[in-house]
């Protein structure tokens, strides 16, 4: 039984995201569910599956570098009653097999969880081919699909356990691998589709999603308050779809909303919020911080995040400028 306590939270943060998925969450899932299976496309070692695979070899399937066939096979097994968790790099579990995802997971509404690792800017040093910057935009557009993006390792475990109880196609994306700062020091109430307000404020609302990004948003909020004295709220949207409309209904009195994500500014969290807000008579102005619609100079994730203005300092600077322009 996974224990959600401060000690584990520290351990998981040090372990990194992949072992949290496959060595913490997945063994818990298969202990409860004889029909849960894992699949990968020649990425067992990178994904941190090997330890659990060696303990439960009959729960794992490797398809080689053939993502379309992996998704199709997952569909056949889901139609036969199995609960498949399949993973590879985020660009390949989404774009490479987009048609299979659209039809088999979306149209046929099959109980398959797609887990995209190294999403966003994670693989910047490996090149543009390895970046997944519109994966949430694509997955969000698929009927029936739920889309998740955890803020830290604890939340990743919570998402895995929560979606394992749901009979629904699901996409979980996470950026980065190690050096994941903990957003949560203590246990908290996780609910699918319910944003977590990490910091209360009145004037500016930072809405963030993703590993490191939500942590950076929290730091940025402190910087903004220090420099300007303006009160800043921070909300973590771990669920991108279904978006938390209850929370969004309550935010009309903020002066400014800032969406912050390691994803294209087209189609991700920012868009999901704007799609909601534009239908309201009264909704705050929104600033989109994310990856702009262009190609960047390539490098490690930190370097990429800095270029895209996704570090705490750059988020704070950008927002302070935006307020001055108001």
């Amino acid at each position: 039984m996974v224990e959600f306590n401060a000690r584990n939270f520290r351990t998981w943060s040090i372990m990194g995201i992949n072992p949290c998925i496959w060595s913490v969450a997945f063994p818990e899932i298969i202990a409860d569910d004889p029909d849960a299976l894992a699949m990968t496309a020649d990425l067992a070692r990178y994904s941190g599956m090997v330890r659990t695979q060696s303990k439960f070899p009959d729960r794992f399937y490797n398809f080689g570098i053939a993502e379309q066939n992996m998704v199709g096979t997952a569909a056949g097994m889901a139609m036969s009653g199995y609960h498949v968790f399949m993973t590879t790099y985020a660009p390949f579990i989404t774009y490479r097999c987009a048609d299979q995802i659209r039809h088999l997971l979306g149209n046929l509404n099959l109980n398959i969880k797609a887990i995209g690792s190294a999403a966003g800017l994670s693989a910047g040093l490996s090149g543009n081919a390895l970046l997944a910057l519109g994966d949430m935009a694509f997955m969000r557009s698929i009927p029936n699909m739920q889309v998740f993006s955890p803020a830290d390792c604890v939340e990743a475990v919570k998402i895995m356990l929560a979606v394992s109880k749901m009979n629904s196609p699901t996409y979980i994306r996470f950026c980065g691998a190690t050096n994941i700062p903990a957003v949560y020091q203590q246990d908290y109430d996780f609910k699918i589709g319910k944003a977590v307000v990490l910091r209360r404020g009145a004037k500016i609302l930072l809405v963030g999603t993703g590993l490191n990004i939500v942590a950076n948003a929290l730091k940025a909020a402190e910087l903004i308050e220090e420099k300007t004295g303006i009160s800043v709220e921070v909300a973590n949207f771990h669920t991108i779809k279904p978006i938390d409309t209850d929370y969004l209904e309550q935010i009309r009195d903020f002066d400014l909303i800032v969406s912050i994500e390691e994803h294209s500014v087209i189609g991700g969290l920012g868009s999901a919020i704007a799609e909601f807000g534009i239908k309201r008579k009264c909704f705050p102005r929104q600033v989109f911080i994310g990856v702009e619609d262009k190609l960047y100079t390539l490098g490690k994730r930190d370097f990429m995040l800095d270029q895209c203005g996704l570090t705490a300092e750059k988020i704070a600077d950008r927002i302070i400028k935006e307020i001055k322009n108001d």
Partner: protein, 276 residues
């Protein structure tokens, strides 16, 4: 009456219903070419091979049939009619908005295991079902109908590779090899031959036959394939037996004329069907 004669009668029933469906679609037309190339394949599957029962459509140990090529709804729905999965009223609504059978549906209750239409997905789905049967210790088999044009898709080859890797001796593929795809003859558009050699090299057991000959099809299904998946390469003719459409790329999606309808009906009556 021999088994072959019985299945020939059954194939005529499927053909007659397919003709009725095609005629009812009117000028809008339907997928005639790829439908009439696999009438006998459907007759053998639903008349002999498949262990499926309309009274128990979701039995866990039923055989699974995945019509991956999808452009075979005429014989597919006709087969479901003549095995009691659907009714006569359903069958003629296949081209109507909101009809039970509109748009390549998936509906296990009426014997439709998979919603096709986007080519190159069905074999992988069949592999998943075969793997699931192995996990559960079920004895049923999974049958997948591929088009030869469909085999242009790379995902089909990913699937061919993995079926052999997983030693799926409970998986049988039938390739409706009618030598045609949407834009024309397949060796002009994208050659596939020698498919049997390719599949052997991929680790499959293969057998080739005349896909319009019931006896040859029955023999092909008997081919032993221990530790391996089986591929039956059924050589067929697009729009088989329909005078103005046979072996023409335009038959892929076409309207059926009253003259062609009458011709095929008469040919079935006098036993000359298939000898245009």
């Amino acid at each position: 009456m021999t088994e072959i004669e019985q299945l020939e009668i059954f194939s005529n029933k499927i053909r007659k219903t397919s003709l009725d469906m095609a005629l009812s679609a009117g000028k809008a037309g339907c997928h005639i070419g790829g439908g009439f190339s696999c009438i006998e394949i459907f007759a053998v599957l639903y008349g002999k091979i498949l262990n499926v029962d309309a009274k128990d459509p979701v039995n866990e140990n039923r055989d699974r049939f995945i019509p991956s090529k999808a452009h075979c709804i005429l014989p597919n729905f006709a087969s479901l009619l003549h095995t009691g999965f659907i009714g006569q009223n359903d069958i003629l609504s296949f081209h109507e908005n909101g009809g039970l059978l509109a748009g390549h549906p998936e509906n296990r209750e009426i014997g439709l295991e998979f919603s096709g239409g986007s080519l190159g997905m069905g074999l992988s789905v069949g592999i998943g079902m075969s793997l699931a049967a192995k996990r559960k210790g079920l004895s049923h088999k999974t049958y997948v109908l591929l088009g030869d044009g469909e085999c242009n898709e790379g995902s089909v080859w990913e699937a061919f590779m993995s079926a052999a890797q997983f030693r799926l001796d409970n998986l049988i593929v039938v390739v409706d090899y009618n030598n045609m795809q949407f834009d024309g003859v397949n060796y002009v558009i994208m050659g596939l031959a020698p498919l049997d050699e390719k599949l052997k090299a991929f680790g499959w057991q293969t057998v080739s036959c005349n896909g319009h000959n019931i006896g040859e099809l029955l023999n092909a299904f008997e081919m032993p394939h221990p530790e391996k998946p089986l591929a039956i390469i059924a050589h067929t003719i697009k729009a088989h037996g329909i005078p103005s459409l046979e072996n023409k790329a335009e038959s892929h999606h076409a309207a059926l004329s009253q003259e062609d309808y009458d011709f095929v009906i008469n040919a079935m009556k006098d036993g000359s069907y298939g000898r245009i």
